[in-house]
Structure formats: structure tokens, C-alpha cells
């Protein structure tokens, strides 16, 4: 299994490098301008406080954009980084088994003494590891840049939000992985997991204004990722049980459907 993970990571090494460059650049370039905003924070905040409620809900129900927590949340962790890592995660979840099957390279892998369970596990670990590498790079860049621009946020909260952001994206990838492992078309895998990701964001955002949306939004992962609460230190940690359960269910579905099905 180690060999499979090693070669999977090796095959994706250039892709990983570009994702790291993208994430690191985005975080650095965004946070480095914080001192400019900090000097005008009070004035900017006043103009944002006049936003209508519906518009505020699209920003997660908060108009705090210029305090240290508000700035980091609105510029990085509320939507930008989850979206970026979500694309990576869905792409990995969809491709790790799906592309091998589509290209027929899976035949050669399974002609070697490797069980399907082992192949599936190795693929899942590879995906989780690649996402972790990029997430850790993003977290380290955030920590370093926060220090440079003197954004006053405890390191523990940056660790916490990095972990939960990782779990959120891992759950998107797990959904894509489970669908591709059942042998469904790759486009279905991307479509469903993107719906889970973006639909979750929209439902959760709008549920502040449209009250009846708050129930369906609870089904989707984004509702359990409360970036502002994490950065403020008021996050209820039991929310991560949702991510763990969703990832476990997707893992089981992947294993159950892949272990004995016909390869295309």
C-alpha cells in the first residue's frame, strides 16, 4: 500500500507544487494588504454596516470585515480557501479511481497482487495526504503572513480553522470519491460534489434570511463549518463529528461498491 501511495503522490508532484504556489500566493497577496485596511478600518466598517440584511447573509451573516478576525475570515477562510481547496479535493476524489478506470490503467494495477480494498484505501490516503500537504502549506503561509502584518489572532485558532477547513474539503472530496468508486460517470461525481459544496454555501448563507432553508442546509457540510466562530473561539467542536461521519459513510460506500463491482 505504501508503494501505491508513494507512486500516486509522485505522479501528482507537479500538480501539488502548483496548488501550493497558488494557495500560498493567494493567501500572502491577500493578507499582506491588511495594514492598509487596518488604518481605515473604522470608516470602511461604517459603510459596510449599512448593507441590507440579504447581502450581509451572503457574507455569512457578518459585516465584520476589518477587525483581525473579520479580515482573515472574510478574505481567506469564509469562502476563498474552502473554494480553492474544495476544487482540489473534488478533483482528487473524482480522479484517483475514476481516471484510472477511464484510462484503463486500473487493469494493470489490479493485475498485480493487490486487493481492491487496498487499492481503494491507498487512493483515499493519497488524496487525503495531497490535500493535507496543500492545506498545511496554506496554514503555514497564513501563520507567517499574519505575523508579518501583525494581525492579532491566536495561533491556536489558525490551527483550528485550518483543521476544520481541511475536514470540510476532505468531506467534499470523499463525496466525489464515493460516487466515482461506484463506477458512475466522472461528470456525475464532479456535479454532485460541487452541488454539495456550493449548494451548501448558498443554503447556509441564505438560511439567515430565508428561515426555512436552515433545515435543509443542516444536511450539507458547509453548515458545520463556521469560520467566524472558529476564529472567535466560540466554535462548538462537536460539529466536527458531522465531517467525520460523512467521511466515514463515503468511505464505506466507496469500499462496498468498489470491492466487487465490474470494472468498465
Amino acid at each position: 500500500m505504501i508503494a501505491l501511495i508513494k507512486w500516486n503522490i509522485w505522479q501528482k508532484r507537479w500538480g501539488i507544487m502548483w496548488w501550493i504556489i497558488g494557495a500560498v500566493s493567494l493567501i500572502f497577496m491577500t493578507l499582506i494588504f491588511y495594514p492598509t485596511f487596518r488604518n481605515q478600518a473604522a470608516e470602511l466598517q461604517r459603510s459596510f454596516d449599512t448593507l441590507p440584511d440579504a447581502a450581509v447573509q451572503l457574507f455569512g451573516g457578518s459585516t465584520d470585515f476589518f477587525s483581525p478576525v473579520g479580515f482573515l475570515n472574510s478574505q481567506i477562510y469564509f469562502i476563498v480557501l474552502p473554494l480553492l481547496l474544495g476544487i482540489l479535493s473534488i478533483n482528487l476524489g473524482n480522479g484517483l479511481i475514476g481516471k484510472e478506470e477511464q484510462d484503463k490503467t486500473i487493469d494493470n494495477l489490479l493485475s498485480k497482487p493487490i486487493s481492491r480494498t487496498k487499492l481503494l484505501t491507498a487512493k483515499a490516503f493519497s488524496g487525503a495526504l495531497i490535500l493535507l500537504i496543500v492545506s498545511v502549506s496554506a496554514a503555514l503561509t497564513t501563520i507567517a503572513t499574519v505575523k508579518i502584518v501583525k494581525l492579532d489572532i491566536p495561533l491556536s485558532r489558525i490551527f483550528a480553522i485550518s483543521l476544520i477547513c481541511y475536514l470540510l474539503n476532505l468531506s467534499f472530496g470523499a463525496v466525489a470519491f464515493a460516487i466515482s468508486a461506484t463506477g458512475r460517470a466522472r461528470v456525475a461525481s464532479v456535479g454532485v460534489s460541487m452541488t454539495v459544496a456550493l449548494g451548501g454555501y448558498l443554503l447556509t448563507s441564505l438560511s439567515g434570511t430565508v428561515k426555512w432553508l436552515s433545515t435543509p442546509s443542516k444536511i450539507l457540510p458547509f453548515d458545520y463549518y463556521r469560520s467566524e466562530e472558529i476564529l472567535q473561539g466560540t466554535y462548538r467542536w462537536r460539529n466536527i463529528i458531522y465531517f467525520i461521519c460523512l467521511i466515514a459513510i463515503c468511505g464505506f460506500v466507496s469500499w462496498f461498491s468498489f470491492r466487487k463491482r465490474d470494472l468498465s
Binding site: L4, Q11, S115
Partner: protein
């Protein structure tokens, strides 16, 4: 070789496959035994069920009923153990285009460790594999050579080949056949699907012909000449009485063209000779059946079923 339980490499019992949503069986109650040290050719046109059989043996797809064993191990339940003993090569070998051949072989070796690197090096040399070129930059034939090395490098006891020589030039084909013969002399069993009859006749000891998912013939190629089917090309002075020819005992097939007839007869020739002795025959030629004729015999409408 006498068939005993110990020298059977592949045993297939009532193996069937029905793909979801298809009315017709892709493979229907296949029964087959292939011995150790034997090269078995599995013949049939596209869609006959050759690849389905191989994919079942490789556990890429699940049987609808029946079972198959390789070296006594169940291909479904003991799939991993079976694959320790197998080398597999597909004619449509899909590899990673961005890897070099060397990297690809290292990857495959990590997944199925090779004790003796000397043999891998020998294969690379004999097949003239370009190790440091990216697979995507290699020609179809050169890609196939890489695939052959990965299939044979661990000296498998059973070699399963699905249209193996596609893309190879004649020189490399010859080298590939030598490799198969060497594997056979080591005691390996080779199960090879093909529709290149010349290749099959060149390397195989025995063949099976599959038609519409059913095995319609098994034939030892060493005894093909004595298979019992004799072909008569007869030219009559008068019109050919096709019906009378068809009614002769042992006649399998009659094709007529004007005053000429080609008659396939199995077994005793005397009823046909007796009939011909009463006719005005101007020319008579006989030949024994070769593989191509055997194949066509089973593939033309009304060909025999096992």
C-alpha cells in the same frame, strides 16, 4: 501430457457472465481446462466473449455463475494469491503517458516485487525497450514492449494474454513468441486470446474457439491434421446435386459453385467415396483442415457446436 489434478493450471467450470441490461449472455457455461506447460489459444472475433473470459479470470468483472480456478486458487475468493502467480498483458495496454518506461517498470515492480532483476534486464535488452523515453512518446509497438516486460518480469507461472502482439513488428513478434516458448519450457501455462490465426498456429499447442459466448470447439493443434475433418474439392461433369451430398453420412458442409463442390466431411470417408464413384467426376482434390479452415468452419452459419 496426461491430465491430472496437479498439472491443471486453469480450470473453468460453468462460467457465465451476463452484463447488466444485456439480453444476451456474454459468456455462457464455459468449461475449460488448461494444463501447466501448455500454450492455449483462445480464438474468436470481436465480441465473441474472449475478453470477457479473460476479465473474469483476472477478477476485473464478477461471474454471474460458475467458477474458475488458477493453480487451484479461486479467481474471485483468492484473487490476490492468484495474482502473485500471474502475468497479465492486454493488447490495449494502458500505461501512464507521462512516466518513462523505467519509472513505469519500477512502479509495477514495487507492486509485484521481482526477485531476479537479471531477467528483467534481459527482457529489456531482448525487446529493445527504450527505458528513458516517456511512454506517451513511444510508438504503439514500443509501448507494447514495455507492457510485455511488466507482464513477464517476475517469471509468472500463468501468463494471461489478451491480443498480445498487436502493434509489434515482425521481428519483435518473433522474439515475443520465443519468450512464450521459454516460459512454456519452464512449465508456465499461457492462455492467450487472439484473432491472428497465424500467430496462434505458430505458438499454441491447443485452441478453443468461442462464438457468441459459447465454446464451440477445442482442438489440439498438433493433431489438427488428424482432426477428422477432410475437405474434398470435387468437379463434376454434370450438375452438382447439393442435397444428395448433404445427406451423405459425416458431411458437415457443402459449398457449390457451378459444377464444383467443396465438401467438409468428418470421420469415415467411404460413404462419400461410394457416392462419388457413381458420379461423373472430372477432378478430385482432398486436403486436411488447417486452423483458418477450422475457424471458418465454426464461424460460418451452421458451424458445429461443441
Amino acid at each position: 501430457m496426461v491430465e491430472t489434478k496437479n498439472n491443471i493450471a486453469i480450470e473453468i467450470n460453468d462460467l457465465s457472465k451476463n452484463y447488466h441490461g444485456m439480453n444476451k449472455m456474454a459468456l455462457s457455461s464455459l468449461n475449460l481446462k488448461v494444463k501447466k506447460g501448455e500454450i492455449f489459444g483462445y480464438l474468436g472475433p470481436n465480441g465473441a466473449g474472449k475478453s470477457t473470459t479473460i476479465r473474469l479470470l483476472m477478477n476485473f468483472i464478477q461471474p454471474s455463475s460458475g467458477r474458475a480456478t488458477i493453480l487451484g486458487l479461486d479467481v474471485v475468493k483468492d484473487s490476490v494469491a492468484v495474482k502473485r502467480k500471474i502475468g497479465y498483458l492486454s493488447g490495449e495496454s494502458a500505461m501512464y503517458p507521462k512516466m518513462t518506461a523505467r519509472q513505469y517498470l519500477n512502479y509495477m515492480r514495487d507492486l509485484h516485487p521481482v526477485g531476479d532483476m537479471k531477467y528483467t534486464k534481459e527482457l529489456v535488452k531482448r525487446l529493445n525497450v527504450e527505458l528513458d523515453k516517456k511512454i506517451g512518446e513511444l510508438s504503439r509497438g514500443n509501448q507494447q514492449k514495455v507492457a510485455i516486460v511488466q507482464a513477464l518480469m517476475h517469471k509468472p507461472e500463468v501468463i494471461i494474454l489478451d491480443e498480445p502482439s498487436s502493434g509489434l513488428d515482425p521481428l519483435m513478434q518473433e522474439e515475443f513468441y520465443k519468450l512464450l516458448e521459454e516460459a512454456k519450457s519452464r512449465g508456465a501455462c499461457i492462455f492467450m486470446s487472439s484473432h491472428i490465426l497465424g500467430e496462434v498456429q505458430r505458438v499454441c499447442d491447443r485452441i478453443g474457439i468461442i462464438r457468441e459466448g459459447k465454446l464451440v470447439a477445442e482442438q489440439n493443434l498438433l493433431n489438427l491434421a488428424s482432426s477428422g475433418i477432410t475437405i474434398f474439392d470435387v468437379t463434376f461433369k454434370d450438375r452438382v446435386d447439393q442435397k444428395a451430398l448433404k445427406n451423405i453420412k459425416g458431411v458437415q458442409k457443402v459449398e457449390t459453385n457451378g459444377s464444383s463442390a467443396t465438401v467438409h466431411i468428418q470421420g469415415d470417408l467411404s460413404p462419400l467415396l461410394a457416392y462419388l464413384s457413381k458420379q461423373n467426376v472430372s477432378r478430385l482434390e482432398t486436403k486436411t483442415m488447417d486452423l483458418e479452415e477450422l475457424f471458418l468452419h465454426y464461424y460460418q452459419k451452421g458451424g458445429g457446436s461443441k
